[in-house]
């Protein structure tokens, strides 16, 4: 095959005045959220490539670390995590943020670990939903297969989350805790801490080899189909190890693996919760496959990099390809199933901080320290699915 040159970005969104820390798509609308390190949260119209609104949601000194949004927490909500020790949940009405956050969680953690929403299994179906939602104008009708008891409407979400709050349902966030080696789970509604992993208080003993692993650098919460609705968390640590926690046995991790030699900076789990990818400060990207029933996490593919440092990863909702944000200013795209490299996207002039795929799998957004956000259109998803 003749080699095509890698494509240029479909659009570049400029407007931030500082390093863009994170981006995330609205679960149903063509809207993109972005947070920068000077505390500004911008909402972009990705059809017109314009800023819809901009507001300073965290102090400029601390800045925003993460923005997150998903249909599970509600279609009109966006979460911002600042480095000021708070996580705020905002309501978006009319394309702009509410004046005050709906919920403010004081996690009192001042680290670099991005929070994680709960990854639901079979969210791959979400892509179709997203399209449909766009047509139906917000008549969200999320149908989950699998256990089915999570089938819920937007209006019902508050009820069900309250029901699920104890067992760590989808309406909570995982974040590195005040004690940086711990992972904490917070409920988004009540702003209460649900659990700490490891659960030092219950055992009374110091956390198992927690100090050896160092700080928690990345977390990803997910609900594997076999866990009967109990939240699982995959957490990456400073020494390169990854622990799989089950909320039911908070005392110790389900599995511990160490595939990286440097801090694990990013973990993503695919829409079926059967596999994932991790990026680290070393020169490797790992693709895993999970078996929730046995709790095993096996290397499926190891990708070597020329230059180390992957600060963000994202798996496309249809599970075909993954994108990574590199310290070397490049976005790399891989075939998720085979792990072979597909593209090296050069646009950013500084470190890339995060990548995110749109729920309809059509767009990829990348955030970089050069204060720009690039939108890419690569490998259009097959309509058949």
């Amino acid at each position: 095959m003749s080699k095509r040159p890698p494509p240029d970005p479909a659009a570049v969104l400029r407007g931030h005045r500082a390093s863009v820390a994170d981006v995330c798509f609205h679960p149903s609308k063509p809207i993109l959220f972005s947070g920068s390190s000077d505390g500004e949260l911008r909402i972009w119209d990705i059809v017109q490539h314009r800023t819809l609104s901009s507001s300073w949601v965290h102090s400029a000194a601390h800045g925003i670390l993460t923005v997150a949004s998903s249909s599970e927490i509600g279609a009109n909500k966006v979460i911002s995590q600042g480095r000021d020790g708070t996580v705020k949940c905002w309501d978006i009405q009319d394309g702009s943020l509410s004046r005050a956050p709906l919920v403010t969680i004081k996690t009192s953690s001042y680290h670099f670990c991005k929070l994680s929403l709960v990854q639901m299994p079979a969210a791959g179906a979400g892509a179709a939903n997203w399209c449909r939602n766009q047509q139906e104008k917000e008549n969200v009708d999320v149908v989950y297969d699998g256990r089915g008891n999570l089938g819920e409407d937007e209006s019902e979400s508050s009820n069900s989350t309250e029901e699920d709050s104890h067992c760590g349902g989808p309406n909570c966030i995982a974040v590195a805790g005040e004690l940086t080696s711990e992972v904490e789970l917070w409920d988004l509604k009540s702003a209460e801490r649900i659990a700490r992993l490891p659960e030092s208080s219950s055992t009374g003993s110091p956390s198992i080899s927690g100090s050896q692993r160092g700080m928690c650098m990345s977390v990803q919460a997910f609900l594997p189909s076999s866990s009967q609705g109990f939240l699982n968390v995959l957490a990456g640590y400073e020494d390169g190890s990854m622990l799989w926690w089950d909320i039911r046995s908070a005392a110790g991790p389900l599995t511990s693996v160490k595939y990286h030699s440097e801090p694990v900076l990013s973990i993503s789990i695919d829409g079926f919760c059967t596999g994932g990818i991790s990026g680290s400060a070393d020169d490797k990207i790992m693709l895993y496959s999970f078996d929730a029933s046995t709790g095993s996490c096996i290397i499926r593919k190891e990708i070597s990099l020329e230059r180390p440092g992957i600060s963000g990863t994202s798996i496309r909702p249809d599970g075909k390809i993954v994108a990574t944000a590199g310290w070397d200013h490049r976005i790399r795209v891989y075939n998720y199933r085979k792990g072979n490299a597909l593209a090296i996207l050069k646009y950013h002039q500084a470190t890339c901080n995060g990548v995110s795929y749109s729920p309809d799998s059509k767009l990829l957004a990348s955030a970089s320290e050069d204060s720009t956000i690039a939108l890419w259109e690569l490998y259009p998803p097959s309509i058949s699915k």
Binding site: K3, P5, S296, I298, I299, R300, N340, K346, Q349
Partner: protein, 1034 residues
């Protein structure tokens, strides 16, 4: 015996009477028939003459006389003949025949009479005597009223007839060899006779007149003679078998001595090539015969026992003259080389000829071992033969140099060669061909040596190392190549498994010819060398890349799979600290399954067909830290422990400097210092030194160009500072050269209109156009002169220039609309703006003067006139380039005088190293080009003695170089320098002429003279060599 003697006397007196009678008859003869008759009466006594053949042309009276002549018996006749030729009869008669008869009567002779009563005396007589009487007549000069022309041409005819057509040489050899004829002479007498004969024979071509038949020309004559003499060797082979060896011995001595004498005289007369062209095929045939007949086992006996070999074995002994021996042996080698003889054939040929003498005679030995190895330049194959024969001294095996048992002579030879080779003198003053030759000799010898032999002589090792290290410092590529080749051979002898490659291309077989093709006369064709070199490199790179790609295609899959398997096995190791999950234990099976998965995935292509990868090429150019401040560059360069930083700084340096920010002025000096002192080679990754070095140089050039005064100030200080090494000094000079060139070619827009105005206002002296260009006059719209690119030396005066001239203004009907009417012409005008402007002259003094100071001082680590001669050469080159860049500007004139003073220094212009002399010639040429003719003229008229003398010095010195320099390139450069000088002189004389013209118009009394040589008070002179016109001005 007694009676024999008296009888002989008797015969002789009778003969003399007879001859006397004949002579008087001839003198008093009134008719040609009388002469014929008289001659016939003698001829009939000596030769079997058939009278009937001549009678036809005679009248009755004489016919009867002829018929009645008494015919003696054959036996009698022989005695008569002997007495006639050995006695006084023949010389007396011959004189009359050759002069009187030839001039008076011979044209009237009928053909048959001439043949039977005239020619017969010379053709059938004793060749030895005949020659002696014939040759003096070649130089017969006019007296007594004889026709000298007729005498000479007749003599020449007779010579051709007797010597060449009737095998005179062969007969002469037989006569000398036969014991009967010259038995009365002692050996010494015989020798003197033979030497006289040889001399006479060899002198024939010189004595023969211009109009003589071509067979008497030296080439054909000697060829004929040689082949006759060689046939003796063949005859001998046949006759020897049935003759007594005692008899033969005497025979050999005399005749071979004669042949040898003739050979040596032929060589002396410069026709050794003709001689050997005949001799070598004969010799080769003989050797081949023996070789083929004796099969595989060839020994000395095969050759010595062969009867045919006797001639060859002894002939060289017979050649007494050492000069001739040398010429002969050299020619043999060349002839054999041109005949593509094999090593074995050559060895045996040489052995046949010289084998006996080589052991006996020291002169022959030294000829081969000294002269042929050290002083001559022969083709490489000849060198191999010499080594095989004279040094290795054993027959070669399988056409390779083969080492015999006698190793002392090998060791001795190598030692002698190397001691010469290693001396500084040899490197400096020997022509390149000679150096190549000696190097090849050493190399070939060393290839045959063993480690023990090398070790046995401490002197040898030391000399080799010294020679190699001397050469490695040399600026010439070829010289360095010689050193590396010798080093390679040396290292192979010391340790065959670990050869030492001093340069990049590791070739197994060493080319001892170094790409030179040494022709017969030792000339070399450099062009072929260069072409070959280029070809070589081309083919080398291409083949390398092919090999590389092969490797890649072969290796890559393997490598990858191997790496993967290793990784996989690493993961199998489980940290004991970890909580072991049972599922982890079947990791292996899982991975197996995974592989299956992968394969199934590849088989189903539909799933991922949309995921064709893009071009994955990636480079890290955008990732480098960008340096945006000059201060940062200085800072980064000083951190020698951070190679990446230095690299980035060097990357950024040129651009930043070229932007010429305001602070450049203040930081330029410091930046120059740091750039010069950065140790590029330490920082660079292996193989990337070049690019870093280049970046540094470019940055320095940029500095010198953008901020010349400040940078020059510090770079000149560094030039002679003890804190920089030679390479840095060279780099500084290179950079200065480049900067000067860049400044000189800097371009500023200047419209033509302005130019014409300025030209009108300013006198013609400061014409912007170089004087060597053709005049810019011409139709409007013509473009600037451009040099027609031609191959040749950069200092070629036969440059051609061309320019575009607009087509003849044809009666184009101009457009009616005003807008377009003159547009074309307007466009032309705007295009006529030219890009000119030489910024260099302003800085010329700053470039040159500090560098010209103090080059001759010897300081710590600085010794330009001695050890660091390369720096000196570069310095001169730089100054020359500067001169040329300032060419035709007043600054050039101002700088010429100090520069000339520098060049004239004895230590410089007569430097031992050719490299420096070349640089001086280059600088002198540049200087000649750079001076404006009017300046030269004014120097002469207004009494600037310094410059005038300096220019004259250039001429005399260049002449001297062309006459006496050993270096070929120096010679060529000196020639072109002379050419430039002539051109300059011509231009200057034209200027003078025009001023003379002006002067004459105002003072009509002074004659307009092209040659004002009558004006004395000559302060300076210009010589125009081609016409040898001498301009002495005032």
């Amino acid at each position: 015996m007694e009676s024999d003697g008296t009888r002989e006397k008797e015969i002789e007196t009778r003969l003399l009477d007879e001859v006397g009678g004949v002579i008087s008859t001839i003198k008093s003869a009134k008719h040609v028939d009388e002469v014929i008759c008289a001659l016939h009466s003698v001829a009939v006594l000596l030769f079997p003459t058939d009278s009937s053949l001549i009678v036809g042309s005679l009248d009755e009276l004489h016919r009867a006389q002829v018929r009645s002549a008494k015919i003696p018996a054959a036996n009698e006749r022989k005695k008569w003949r002997r007495a006639f030729y050995r006695g006084a009869g023949f010389p007396t008669l011959a004189l009359v025949l050759l002069i009187d008869v030839a001039s008076n009567w011979l044209p009237c002779f009928p053909f048959s009479a001439r043949q039977h009563v005239y020619d017969v005396f010379f053709v059938h007589g004793l060749a030895v005597e005949v020659i002696q009487s014939l040759v003096p007549c070649l130089q017969y000069s006019l007296n007594d009223g004889f026709d000298a022309k007729a005498v000479k041409s007749n003599t020449e005819r007779l010579l051709v007839l007797s010597l060449l057509e009737n095998g005179g040489m062969l007969r002469m050899v037989k006569e000398l060899g036969s014991s009967e004829l010259y038995e009365d002479l002692t050996h010494a007498q015989l020798i003197s006779v033979m030497s006289r004969l040889a001399q006479i024979v060899a002198s024939i071509p010189d004595k023969a007149s211009q109009r003589a038949s071509s067979s008497l020309s030296s080439h054909l004559f000697f060829k004929q003679i040689t082949s006759q003499l060689l046939s003796v060797s063949r005859d001998r082979t046949e006759t020897i078998s049935d003759q007594e060896s005692i008899f033969y011995k005497h025979d050999v001595d005399t005749t071979l001595l004669f042949i040898g004498d003739i050979f040596s005289r032929i060589c002396r007369r410069g026709s050794s090539d003709v001689l050997l062209a005949e001799l070598v095929p004969e010799l080769l045939r003989h050797v081949q015969n023996i070789l083929s007949s004796s099969g595989d086992s060839v020994s000395v006996d095969n050759f010595e026992s062969d009867p045919g070999s006797q001639f060859w074995l002894n002939i060289m002994e017979a050649v007494k003259d050492s000069y001739s021996i040398e010429r002969i042996s050299e020619q043999i080698l060349l002839q054999l080389a041109s005949r593509l003889a094999s090593d074995t054939e050559t060895y045996w040929s040489l052995h046949l000829l010289f084998g006996k003498n080589f052991e006996k005679s020291p002169s022959i030995r030294s000829m081969f071992v000294d002269k042929f190895l050290l002083w001559k330049v022969l083709p490489l194959c000849c060198l191999r033969w010499i080594l095989q024969f004279a040094v290795l001294q054993c027959p070669p095996i399988a056409n390779q140099l083969t080492k015999g048992h006698a190793t002392e002579i090998l060791l001795d030879t190598v030692q002698r060669l190397v001691s010469v080779w290693a001396s500084q003198d040899f490197i400096q003053s020997t022509p390149t061909e000679q150096q190549v030759y000696v190097t090849a000799a050493i190399g070939l010898c060393m290839e045959k040596m063993s480690k023990e032999e090398l070790d046995s002589s401490k002197v040898l090792m030391h000399a080799i190392l010294q020679g190699v290290s001397c050469r490695l410092e040399n600026p010439g590529h070829l010289v360095r190549k010689m050193a590396s080749n010798i080093a390679l051979v040396f290292s192979k002898v010391i340790d065959p498994k670990n050869p030492l490659y001093l340069d990049d291309n590791c070739v197994e077989a060493i080319d001892w010819e170094f790409g030179f093709t040494i022709h017969g006369k030792g000339t070399l064709s450099t062009s072929t060398f260069i072409e070959k070199h280029i070809d070589d490199t081309k083919s080398l790179t291409s083949s390398e890349s092919i090999i590389d790609s092969c490797h890649q295609t072969n290796d890559q899959p393997n490598k990858i799979t191997r790496r993967h398997s290793r990784r996989a096995s690493q993961f199998k190791m489980i940290d004991p600290d970890e909580i072991i999950d049972p599922s982890m234990l079947n990791l292996e099976s899982a991975s197996d399954k995974d592989e299956d998965d992968a394969s199934s995935e590849t088989s189903e292509s539909s799933g991922d067909s949309s995921l064709q990868p893009y071009d994955l090429a990636d480079d890290d150019t955008d990732l480098k830290q960008k340096i945006t401040q000059l201060v940062d560059i200085v800072g980064a360069l000083r951190k020698s422990n951070d190679p990446d930083g230095v690299d980035a700084a060097l990357d950024a340096a040129e651009k930043l400097v070229r932007a010429s920010p305001d602070e450049l002025k203040h930081i330029a000096g410091e930046l120059v210092r740091t750039l010069v002192q950065v140790r590029c080679s330490d920082l660079a990754v292996e193989g990337e030194e070049e690019s870093i070095e280049e970046k540094r140089q470019r940055a320095l050039v940029a500095l010198l160009v953008t901020s010349p005064f400040e940078s020059l100030d510090s770079i000149n200080k560094l030039l002679y500072s003890p804190h920089v090494d030679t390479s840095q000094r060279i780099m500084i000079l290179d950079v200065m050269t480049e900067a000067a060139q860049e400044l000189a070619s800097s371009k500023t827009l200047k419209s033509r209109q302005q130019q014409t105005v300025s030209r009108a206002l300013i006198s013609t002296i400061s014409e912007t156009q170089p004087w060597f260009l053709p005049s810019s006059k011409g139709p409007p719209g013509s473009t600037l002169w451009k040099e027609v690119s031609e191959t040749g030396t950069p200092l070629n005066y036969s440059h051609r220039y061309e320019r575009e001239v607009p087509s003849r203004p044809s009666p184009i009907i101009k457009g009616k609309t005003r807008r377009w009417g003159n547009h074309y012409a307007n466009i032309k005008n705007t295009q006529a703006e030219e890009w000119t402007g030489n910024k260099f002259p302003v800085y010329a003094a700053a470039f040159m003067l500090p560098a010209m100071q103090g080059f001759d001082k010897k300081r710590q680590g600085v010794d330009l006139l001695g050890r660091d001669f390369i720096v000196l050469g570069k310095l001169l080159h730089m100054l020359g380039v500067c001169m040329r860049c300032a060419s035709l500007h007043p600054e050039a004139s101002a700088l010429a005088s100090p520069f000339l003073d520098m060049l004239r220094m004895r230590e410089i212009c007569r430097h031992k190293e050719a490299y420096v002399r070349r640089a001086v010639l280059f600088a002198a040429s540049c200087l000649l080009v750079s001076l404006h003719p009017s300046f030269v003229a004014s120097c002469l008229t207004e009494g600037n003695v310094e410059v005038a003398k300096g220019l004259e010095w250039i001429r005399t010195w260049a002449l001297e170089v062309t006459e006496s320099d050993t270096d070929r390139e120096c010679y060529i450069m000196a020639m072109s320098c002379l050419q430039l000088h002539a051109e300059m002189a011509l231009q200057a004389s034209r200027v003078l002429e025009s001023t003379e013209n002006n002067a004459s118009s105002s003072h009509p009394k002074v004659g307009v003279s092209l040659l004002p040589s009558n004006l004395n008070l000559g302060l300076g002179t210009i010589k125009v060599p081609p016409s040898n016109l001498r301009y002495s001005i005032m």
